[in-house]
């Protein structure tokens, strides 16, 4: 598919110089980064525990530190 043993092809524009393979990897990283942020996780459907809240078995909130500034 791609000959990895041959000479690399480069994109050269003024001071900008990069091989197409490296450029492809960087573009792919950007895409994966954006998709990871945009795409909802399948684990969202599971029951989730609210951050900074300690909940008893009957569902009553024992402690809630979410308003505190400790994490900021």
């Amino acid at each position: 598919m791609v000959n990895l043993n041959g000479n690399s092809k480069v994109l050269h524009y003024g001071w900008f110089l990069i091989t197409y393979s490296n450029l492809m990897v960087i573009v792919l990283m950007f895409l994966v980064f954006i998709i990871a942020i945009a795409l909802p996780s399948p684990t969202r459907k599971h029951k989730i525990i609210e951050p900074n809240k300690e909940v008893a078995k009957d569902g009553q909130v024992i402690s809630d530190t979410s308003a505190g500034g400790d994490d900021l």
Binding site: V25, M29, A36, L39, T43, I49, P51, D71, L72
Partner: protein, 223 residues
Amino acid sequence: MTRSEKDDNLSDQWTAKVRTLVVEKLPPEKLLPDTQPAYLTSWAYTFGILTISALSVVIISGTVLALSGPSWWHVSSIGRFVNSLHLWSVELFFFFMVIHLWTKFFMAAWRGGRTLTWMTGVIAFLASIGAAFTGYVSQLNFDSQWISTQAKDGLNSTGVGAYFNPLNFGQMLAFHIAILPATVVIIVVLHILMVRVKGIVPPLPKKRNEILDVANEYSGDKK
């Protein structure tokens, strides 16, 4: 001697003090938690473990290559396979590590006393670049000869050539298979322990003014 006297004597020992400190900072339920905050249910939080997974393959394949000698992969089909495994796992390691860095950078992951977590990540990243570079110049092929002669000129201009010489194959191999991998693994373990101690960083608030509040609070400019 009563039980309490015995306990008092024991608590004076440095081992007891270290144990108390470790358990205090990192109790078992924090070291190996069975629940995590809700904000973790996002793809953005998966790149750390993906990086560690790739690093595991790098270390295993690298150990096989190191035990078989630096020229084995040139003359054996299995060697070439293990070498390819090593190369592509390194590619994935850097791929995931850079995305992990971006996600943590844009959520200001050094918040909440997580400076050491952030800094161990930075050091692991820099040590990984060194490990990858010394790997490139240890390949024993034309590629490595070209890279080492080019790097030699660059490094000599900084004055480190007497201590770090890319044309010295033995030195590069020692850095690549012993010093730098050990550094990376130790720093990564510390990084994970810091994540466990301080917890996984929560995302920034969605609203712009709330983000500004966080930024002001972090910079000490509290209202």
